[in-house]
């Protein structure tokens, strides 16, 4: 294992949630003349050259996202931090905010400076009460120390941060739904365009970034974009925090440089220390990413390109390996239930389709599955896949399509247990030519 700087998790276990400890570890050193003599465009250029990509799941280049925010529109620019970590299997932001909230604040100040934003919101998932406590404490300390508020660190730049507690809806992790929720409306995604960069919160230019993304910015500014770009692979530079759960010996939050093999993360003594049992498959990037078979898992490396080549996504970095004792049918049922429950109910294919698919799978799990149910399930998933305003329908379709494709025999075995599996699908009197 190569050595690399722990950009994101370096302060873990050191009590860095306290400003004194954070400063003694070198924190807030960026907030000096060097920052305030850097222009907004230079700042964006630095982030662009570092190659930092959004860590929320989509992997969009962060510098480019910042450059989309228009200037001098006469409206305020808002920075919104997406801390509504809701993807099943993902828990990295939770620990990042809990252990090192000041680094997030510092990253936000740097981002705010680059965007010309005066106000920032941290939209925290409602269940993360300890994170909210930790963030509020850190923000109060930062105000007292003069790093937030009017004329921060002696400059003429003013910056305010507010913590907004969400209500725990998965869909509010989608940036336009998050903005709607932040505004006090029902958290439902909006039609695009206009994109949030142009018309987001309160119809003003808004930049929504993930917690982990912003926490990499202080290191990049301090050590230069070239140093960051040297880490990882050329197209996926830097380090990333992975949340590993499932059948491994030591689940947890691990920071690794992008591009290392998946098996290194799962088996290295520094990280997960190996699997429990024999692997049956692995969800590589959060529950909405297509599942990988053991053979695919053995080959894949942890970067955006290799994941895409393997037909899946790096996503939010939630790695869930599972062993042969697990029922994939039961796992898929858990996921379809989750997504149909979390559908915001706006678009027809997602609202009615995810629930429909869930109920079809329900009958399979209950032992009432019939011939053709698996094809029906995949056809439904293909039909609602991506047909909606936001990607939630696609997030439900990906596991359905891939689980059924890769573990079809196991699904068929469950259906085969139903002695009445060849009964006609419809009631006779619903069929044309029957009752009518």
């Amino acid at each position: 294992m190569s050595t690399f700087p722990k950009i994101l998790t370096g302060n873990f276990g050191k009590g860095a949630a306290d400003i004194g400890v954070y400063k003694s570890l070198g924190g807030y050193s960026n907030l000096g003349p060097k920052l305030f003599s850097t222009s907004q465009f230079e700042m964006i250029d630095i982030v662009q050259r570092s190659g930092l990509r959004g860590r929320g799941g989509a992997g969009f280049p962060t510098g480019m996202k910042w450059s989309f925010v228009p200037r001098n529109t006469g409206k305020p620019v808002y920075l919104v931090v997406n801390a509504d970590e809701g993807e099943p299997g993902t828990f990295k932001d939770h620990f990042l905010m809990l252990e090192d909230p000041h680094k997030l604040i510092e990253g936000m100040i740097l981002c705010g400076w680059a965007l010309g934003a005066r106000t920032a919101y941290i939209y925290v998932r409602g269940e993360f009460l300890n994170c909210i406590e930790s963030l509020n404490k850190a923000i109060n300390q930062a105000y007292e120390a003069g790093y937030l508020g009017k004329n921060i660190a002696g400059s003429n730049y003013s910056f305010d941060i507010y913590v907004h507690r969400g209500a725990g809806a998965y869909i509010c992790g989608e940036e336009t739904a998050l903005i709607s929720s932040l505004e006090g409306r029902k958290g439902q995604p909006r039609l695009k365009p206009p994109f949030p960069a142009v018309s987001g919160a309160w119809a003003s230019p808004t930049c929504v970034n993930n917690v982990e993304t912003l926490m990499a910015v202080p290191w990049i500014f301090e050590n230069g974009p070239e140093a960051y770009a040297k880490l990882g692979t050329p197209k996926s530079p830097g380090t990333k925090v992975f949340s590993v759960s499932g059948d491994v010996k030591r689940p947890g939050v691990y920071e690794v440089p992008l591009g290392i093999p998946m098996m290194e993360l799962l088996e290295s003594p520094d990280y997960c220390q190996g699997l429990v049992g024999t692997m049956k498959g692995c969800i590589p990037g959060g529950s909405s990413t297509p599942v990988l078979t053991p053979e695919e898992t053995a080959k894949v490396t942890l970067d955006y390109e290799a994941m895409a080549a393997a037909g899946t996504m790096l996503g939010s970095g939630a790695v869930i390996p599972f062993n042969t004792q697990r029922s994939v049918v039961g796992m898929l049922k858990t996921l379809t239930h989750f997504y149909s429950h979390e559908s915001c109910g706006q678009c027809t294919p997602c609202r009615d389709g995810t629930g429909y698919a869930d109920r079809v799978l329900d009958t399979v799990v209950d032992g009432h599955g019939r011939d053709g149910d698996l094809d029906l399930l995949v056809d439904l998933a293909n039909n609602f896949n991506g047909a909606t305003i936001c990607p939630l329908s696609a997030a439900d379709a990906a596991p359905i399509i891939n689980f059924v494709k890769k573990y079809r025999s196991e699904f068929e075995a469950v259906v085969a247990k139903n002695p009445k599996r060849d009964e006609p699908r419809l009631d006779a009197h619903f069929r044309p030519g029957g009752f009518w």
Partner: protein, 544 residues
């Protein structure tokens, strides 16, 4: 609920046209407009539920799928959120199997949770879901019996399907005018957008999420807006129904007659839906320049008066007489009169008032024409009412009839006969009208018994607004045409213009003659014919 507040861009008469490629054919469509509307201009109907030309875009039903060239090549998109760009490529279900499949898929999802209770549903026959299903549906269902949806509706009226499954809120009373049947709702969000963005009072909202979502009012409140009945029109299924029309008639029996509703000077466009000589309801008729797609509850319910308190005969000195006797008596009174006051009305058409003017001309110097109203004028509500209850006030002005009722009241003693053509003077202001008691002979032409007919010495029944063809000029100087619905309670009743022209000795054979007489009196009406007015009315340039 969409949080987007963009209204669709609709094609106007002056919108420049650009060339786009639809189904591999180059066509000319209005630039920058909403693709659903643009395709309509070339005769292609796109199935949709949530889209409505007068509501902000929501883009949530996903029914209007088309293929178009986006940043990632040709791909599926919703037509309602795709503006026309020059040179764009569009594939509809006529050329693209992908679009066909996507539309059928959305339809299947819509129906997965929709009860097929069309035989007992009040919307059947004018249901968008039925119509779109016939166009784009799969034809055969593969939805299984145990696939159903659970609702959280009014606990007293839960709906159970044929399998005994609890299917939720049935007959939920939302307020004084509207009833909700939750299990039919497809959550297109039109009603909530109407209440929020048109009515301006967010009384409806969608509670819960996913397929558990349902329409409701806020706790402790009800749906009681002056425009709330419009939600029953825009509801694409039978979820929201109007108490006044619910189960009154099957819609396929109804015949439609275009008209305008004369309770307000904006002249909201409506269709009179009638069956077997009775008006069943009024429905708003879309006119982008007048009332868009909306009418107020008050306007909508004016039809109820058409069958109440009607005068189908004449009445003299407290006794009913035949219409012909009443006509003859009126003619006698007028000919014997020393000085006659003729009162025109802003509640009558231009044709009717032209008849009154013809009578004035025939009576010569002994007749004097008065007009106007003592009704109070309110303020515009910005949707479909100007606040002025005198619908044809502008028409009176055009014909040169002055608003001089106060003058009439002051000089009442000069007259011995007054003829009032459908103008409820005593109803509008009993105090001011009291002066008119001094006139010995009071002839009143009216479709209804009212305060004025009670004061009359001679009453002649006439046809009401729904039963006559004619024109009115609205408060913005737009002349609009009303067609006659065959709903008169008695065929012997005459339109006011006919009665008045007969009193004047004119031989007008139809309202066209009356219209010609009216047009001759008003320079602003030069060149205007029923044909140029058409269904959407015509803006009079001199009054614009």
């Amino acid at each position: 609920m969409s949080n987007s507040y963009h209204f669709p861009i609709l094609p106007g008469p002056d919108t420049p046209k650009v060339t786009i490629n639809v189904d591999n054919v180059d066509v000319q469509v209005p630039d920058g407009t909403n693709l659903v509307e643009a395709l309509k201009t070339i005769g292609i109907e796109t199935p949709h539920f949530c889209y409505h030309p007068d509501l902000p875009l929501a883009g949530n039903c996903r029914q209007c799928m088309i293929e178009t060239d986006g940043p990632r090549g040709l791909g599926l998109a919703i037509a309602c959120y795709t503006p026309v760009r020059a040179g764009m490529k569009v594939a509809t279900d006529r050329s693209s199997e992908k679009v066909k499949k996507a539309r059928a898929a959305v339809m299947e999802f819509q129906l997965a949770n929709h009860p097929l209770d069309c035989p007992i549903c009040d919307k059947a026959g004018e249901c968008t879901l039925q119509e779109n299903y016939m166009k784009v549906g799969n034809g055969e269902s593969r939805v299984r019996e145990e696939i159903g949806k659970a609702y959280h509706g009014n606990p007293d009226h839960r709906f159970t399907d044929s399998k005994g499954q609890d299917r939720g809120g049935k007959h939920v009373d939302l307020g004084p005018t509207v009833v909700l049947d939750e299990e039919r709702c497809i959550l297109c969000d039109r009603c909530t957008r109407f209440m929020r963005d048109v009515a301006g009072s967010e009384q409806l909202y969608i509670a819960d999420r996913g397929d558990r979502a349902y329409i409701t009012v806020f706790p402790g409140t009800q749906l009681d807006h002056a425009y709330d009945l419009n939600v029953t029109d825009i509801c694409p299924v039978g979820a929201l129904t109007a108490k006044h029309f619910r189960f009154q008639s099957r819609v396929w029996f109804l015949k439609k007659t275009d008209s305008i509703v004369p309770d307000d000077s904006l002249g909201a466009n409506v269709t009179i839906d009638h069956h077997e000589g009775k008006v069943a309801r009024l429905m708003p008729r879309r006119n982008g320049a007048v009332n868009k797609s909306w009418i107020s509850n008050a306007s909508r319910l004016t039809y109820q008066a058409l069958s109440e308190n009607r005068l189908v005969r004449g009445r003299a000195d407290g006794h009913d007489i035949s219409l012909e006797d009443a006509f003859a008596k009126a003619g006698m009174l007028l000919s014997k009169a020393r000085k006659v006051a003729l009162v025109a009305s802003g509640h009558l058409t231009n044709e009717d008032n032209a008849g009154l003017l013809a009578l004035a001309a025939q009576l010569g110097t002994k007749a004097e024409v008065f007009g106007g109203s003592w009704l109070e004028v309110g303020t515009p509500d910005g949707i479909s009412r100007s606040g002025d209850p005198v619908a044809n006030r502008k028409g009176l002005e055009l014909l040169g009839i002055k608003d001089n009722l106060d003058d009439l009241a002051r000089r009442a003693s000069e007259f011995d006969v007054i003829l009032i053509a459908n103008n409820d003077l005593w109803g509008a202001s009993p105090e001011k009208a009291r002066a008119l008691d001094a006139i010995a002979q009071r002839i009143v032409l009216s479709p209804w018994s009212n305060a004025t007919t009670a004061k009359a010495t001679l009453v002649v029944g006439i046809r009401a607004w729904a039963e006559v063809r004619g024109t009115m000029v609205n408060c913005n100087g737009r002349i609009q045409l009303m067609q006659a619905a065959p709903t008169t309670p008695d065929e012997r009743l005459e339109p006011a213009w006919q009665l008045l022209s007969r009193l004047a000795g004119e031989r007008w054979s139809s309202e066209i003659d009356a219209w010609k007489a009216a047009a001759a009196k008003a320079p602003a009406l030069a060149g205007v014919t029923y044909r140029t007015i058409g269904r959407q009315g015509q803006q009079l340039e001199t009054l614009a």
